[in-house]
């Protein structure tokens, strides 16, 4: 809402309060003033001039040489390029020495050899938003009313000696979508009186009945419809003061009748509509819901197709307007209009809101109606507008009002209990203080009291539709008393231990552990493109082999961000590619986040949100360093990071099982990760084709389902006594088939080693010279210990020989 300071001061005394001070006070007590905007953007020394004559410039086709009277003895010769300048016009003249917005200074000048003393200005040159001016005023110099005195300063005449306060209204304060509403708000803040405009209407015409009739056929959508008939109006421009105020408010002046409806809407907050009476068949107004597919051409010359939830104003025959949104072109007020049927109605906010949304058509009227206007505004606005039509359009008012009133509204009575107020705010406001604030708000109240304390029965005016509960009144009192006055205390309640849940704690641990190993945490978007969703296997599998589909947004902002992710990897791959494109080729990142899974095509219940850890390593692990060479990342580094993660989280029984069918993964370099017999994720190299698609080099990734992992975390373990007896070490090097998995060999050693075998550690893998083709040598270090006694060499030899035998039998292994 744009509030003109000068206009506002018509309804409330603003003396002693500058616009800036007013803005600060309004902001601090509840309504944010976004901008304080002087209407004068820097115009000085500009007066009303009279163009006495106009002649063509001798040397320039497009220039005119004008003789202009600015009220001084000497007439001014001014060269002007505007096509619309003409003798007999009154125009704004920036005198020599004047300044105009944008830093322009007017000097005596010669234009193509002709002296020019001053400048005839367009609205734009005066800093007026010319989009708000009639078309003919936009294209050239501004033509001023004949009635203006030659030589008079144009600044006050054009309303430029004003300041606009732009209010950023929250949805609850739609009462301030009107000057009167703002006046009441300011009155409460300043403790001053509001001056309501006079609403007297002089009726001079015949009875309105039977010229106009009103019927409401949609009682849930329209509560009241009131109409007046104004005859013999003369269409023309509205007076400059009214145009100035409309422009200040951001509304374009059209003609006196339309301007009056807009002006009164701005003043009273109640939208009005003026119909050309001749276009309303029989003067009948029938308010009804539209039929499916019914159409109407609105004032903006667009044909609108309606549905049965939309409310129409009709004349019983044809629609003549979309209620509360926009009038119809067929009943528009034109220069030929002589009789006005003036509508002031109360429509249901939700109905208007829905219609305006569906049509994608928002107007100053719908903006107000959809937020529940003051039902009492209907009459005020009707009378005010009628009065102005008589005054400014020379109309004659028919006797009486034609109306249908289905639903009225009494002011709500809300109780305000002083004790509760003070307990709620943590303050000790006195009865008088609260009573004073209620008075400043212009809220009537009765005081009832008992031993418990004072209770105010507050009669809330209908303009404040936002106040229905005691807490709403608490807010009014608190904001006007000042939030700064509320003390700071700490709650008096039982002590509670604050805490993280186990999962929250473990999530933090995962981040810290991975950080400590050099992996950075990334955060990527949840929305992704359907094509990327499934470039690589997710933790649950891939979309082709599951019943899941990525969940689409109903109205995505772009294809790129149109479905919910089912996978953490694609965006990490994008992250790696982004960095690689900036020559940051060594990337080690992870993300902890949800993926969204549902088997439903059309969601009827919330999808499953699965917490996943995704990781990616590409490029080099150890960068160039004077002591060591760059080390490209590889599978075993990636796995090493995971091993360390599992160890630090205290998860046992981890196994890596080779897997070749995972989508987007290298078939020979990928392993499923199991805890005991449960699969919790996978690790491996991206398939070379996927690497290529994302423009990545050799890249390793992993994904784990964190809930499954966390379920396996052992929160703490008992201490194990230190060994009391010495261990015996034995090394074992065997030659086996080249494709024998280490895990199988190691499992066999453990099995054969029995209870004395404390640990097995692989320390060498070798193939090549000395080892036959297709074979490899693997060397282990075995530690034997009996916790109960010292083992003898003979005892260990027996077991160790057994291990060798088992390996020979199981894998054809040969001691090296």
């Amino acid at each position: 809402m744009r509030v003109s300071y000068k206009w506002l001061s018509e309804y409330i005394d603003l003396s002693g309060v500058t616009p800036e001070e007013l803005a600060e006070k309004i902001t601090r007590s509840g309504i944010e003033v976004d901008v304080v905007e002087p209407r004068n953007r820097g115009v000085t020394n500009t007066v009303v001039g009279y163009v006495e004559s106009k002649e063509k410039h001798p040397d320039a086709d497009k220039l005119n040489v004008c003789t202009v009277d600015v009220g001084e003895t000497e007439k001014l010769q001014i060269v002007c390029g505007a096509p619309n300048v003409d003798a007999g016009q009154k125009v704004p003249v920036a005198l020599v020495g004047a300044k105009l917005p944008g830093g322009l200074k007017i000097k005596k000048a010669k234009l193509r050899g002709v002296e020019s003393r001053g400048m005839i200005c367009s609205a734009k040159e005066l800093g007026i938003n010319d989009k708000l001016l009639p078309k003919e005023q936009q294209d050239g110099i501004m033509v001023l009313p004949d009635s203006w005195q030659i030589g008079e300063d144009v600044i006050p005449l054009l309303g430029l000696d004003d300041v606009v306060l732009e209010l950023d209204l929250t949805p609850n304060r739609s009462d301030c979508l009107s000057m009167m509403g703002v006046a009441y708000e300011v009155a409460a803040i300043l403790g001053r009186e509001v001056r309501e405009p006079d609403l007297t209407v002089t009726e001079q015409g015949d009875e309105i009945d039977p010229k106009v009739s009103v019927r409401i056929d949609a009682p849930d959508h329209c509560y009241r419809y009131s109409a007046r008939l104004i005859e013999n109006v003369t269409l023309g421009p509205s007076p400059m003061w009214m145009q100035n105020r409309l422009i200040a408010a951001g509304i374009r002046p059209i003609n006196n009748v339309v301007d009056i409806t807009n002006y009164v809407m701005l003043e009273q907050g109640q939208p009005l509509h003026a119909f050309d009476y001749e276009a309303v068949f029989g003067g009948n107004i029938v308010v009804r819901l539209a039929q499916e597919g019914e159409t109407i051409v609105t004032l903006d010359d667009v044909e609108r197709t309606l549905d049965p939830e939309m409310l129409l104003i009709t004349d019983g025959d044809k629609p003549i307007g979309i209620a509360g949104v926009m009038g119809g072109a067929n009943s528009e007020v034109t220069e030929n209009t002589r009789t006005i049927l003036l509508e002031s109605a109360h429509f249901a906010g939700a109905s208007i809101r829905k219609t305006s949304r569906k049509l994608g058509l928002r107007s100053e009227a719908s903006l107000r109606f959809e937020k529940d206007v003051d039902p009492e505004g209907v009459m005020r606005a009707l009378e005010r507008a009628t009065q102005l039509m008589v005054e400014l359009a020379g109309g004659k008012v028919a006797k009486g009002i034609s109306e249908s009133v289905l639903r009225g509204q009494e002011p709500a009575v809300v109780e305000l209990n002083l004790n509760r107020l003070n307990k709620f705010l943590g303050m000790t406001l006195s009865r008088d203080t609260v009573a004073d604030i209620l008075r400043r708000l212009n809220f009537d109240f009765e005081e009832t009291g008992d031993q418990e304390g004072t209770v105010f029965q507050v009669k809330v005016p209908t303009r404040r539709q936002d106040i229905r509960l005691e807490e709403d009144l608490f807010e009014e009192v608190a904001r006007l008393y000042g939030y700064d006055e509320i003390p700071t205390t700490l709650p008096v309640t039982v002590t509670t231990p604050g805490s993280l849940t186990r999962e929250q704690y473990l999530r933090r641990q995962v981040r810290r552990i991975l950080n400590s190993m050099g992996m950075k945490e990334a955060m990527t978007y949840t929305f992704t493109s359907p094509s990327m969703a499934d470039d690589v296997e997710s933790v649950f599998g891939n979309l082709e082999n599951s019943d899941y589909q990525p969940i689409p947004l109903a109205m995505p902002m772009s294809e790129e961000r149109s479905v919910l992710r089912v996978n953490l990897l694609p965006h990490l791959m994008e992250t790696a590619a982004y960095n690689r494109n900036r020559r940051l080729e060594d990337v080690a990142v992870f993300e902890v986040g949800n993926i969204f899974l549902s088997e439903e095509k059309q969601l009827t219940s919330l999808p499953e949100e699965r917490l996943v850890l995704g990781g990616l390593l590409t490029g080099h692990w150890v960068g160039d360093h004077w002591l060591q060479n760059r080390q490209p990342v590889d599978f075993y580094l990636t796995r090493g990071i995971l091993d360390a993660l599992f160890e630090r989280l205290n998860v046992d029984e981890i196994s890596y099982r080779p897997v070749s069918g995972l989508k987007g993964m290298h078939p020979g370099r990928t392993a499923d990760i199991y805890v005991a017999q449960e699969r919790i994720g996978y690790v491996g190299q991206l398939h070379p084709e996927v690497q290529k698609k994302y423009d990545l080099g050799e890249t390793y990734v992993f994904q784990l389902e964190l809930e499954k992992l966390f379920a396996r975390v052992k929160d703490y373990e008992m201490y194990r006594p230190l060994p009391r007896f010495p261990a015996i070490n034995r090394d074992l090097a065997v030659v086996v088939d080249g494709d024998l998995a280490h895990a199988d060999l190691q499992a066999k050693i453990r099995e054969a080693g029995g209870k004395w075998l404390e640990s097995v550690h692989l320390f060498d893998v070798y193939s090549g010279e000395g080892i036959e083709e297709g074979k490899k040598s693997m060397a282990f270090s075995l530690v034997y210990r009996d916790p109960e006694k010292t083992l003898t060499d003979e005892e260990v030899n027996e077991v160790h020989d057994g291990v060798v035998r088992v390996l020979e039998e199981a894998f054809g292994a040969r001691l090296r």
Binding site: N172, M519, T526, F527, A554, W626
Partner: protein, 345 residues
Amino acid sequence: MMREQLEDLRTRVLAELEQVDSLSALEDLRVKYIGKKGELTEILKGMGKLSPEERPVIGQLANEIRQKLEQELEQKKDALEKAQLEARLQEETIDVTLPGRPVATASRHPLTQVIEEVEDIFIGLGFEVAEGPEVETDYYNFEALNLPKNHPARDMQDSFYITEEILMRTHTSPVQARTMERKEGKVPVKIICPGKVYRRDDDDATHSHQFTQIEGLMIDEGIRMSDLKGILLTFAKEMFGPDQKIRLRPSFFPFTEPSVEVDISCVMCGGEGCRTCKQTGWIEILGAGMVHPRVLEMSGYDPKRYTGFAFGMGPDRIAMLKFGIDDIRHFYTNDLRFLEQFNRL
């Protein structure tokens, strides 16, 4: 005769000792003269030929000389060892200004850092961390928060719907409603709810269609608006420094009444006035208010008996203020040069 031999030996040994420059030469010297088969022993073999009167005199002289020589040799040895050690240390000297071997290190995401810091402050004040789904029902996201369908305030936060009843949550407030429901009317409720939220905004330097939020809620008997001020002041001091002040400005949220915007003293200028705070000395960091009675009621709390406050803040904005970050998109682009700047634990 023997006396002369001994004296001569002493003179020679001492002279030679001067020339010795290594431990091995020293050892050779020792063996040659005073070792078991050394010259001294050889000389003393002639003792038998001496008269009984001479014998003790010469014997004593021999002992004196041996002791003297051993002592000298020992001193020489110490000196040589010391010199050798010094030479070794000299030789071992390295350029300590060369870069160290790289030990991997990395950091949490800056938003994670802010969220965890906020969590920890409120955990210290006895709050629990509560979480909920990112895909929400219209009921929890709006209706249970006093935002019925067609409520004008739904305009304020245009949403990503999936179906008519299911959407991406636009704030973490639904976790409040869910938690209250779960608590079945039990008090106190003291939770903070961090998480990702989504709104239909075009991404630019200050807007992101995805961002993070932390919501707080406290409900009990006798919770006052002054308590809200107290808790938030405590938070501001912990988070931004002990000199922080806060200021409440009236505002509107459908789920609180009264509703306020909360400003803290500008973190850039400390309240003096600068570009960040547009010369006001204050910057807005959160929205808050007393829980709306209808919200209490809908979640099973009697508003006549219980009151509470709620607040919400944006870690993205806090991180931007705290670290002076100028573009919100940095948080989600994951440029390594950005992430690396937050290498702290």
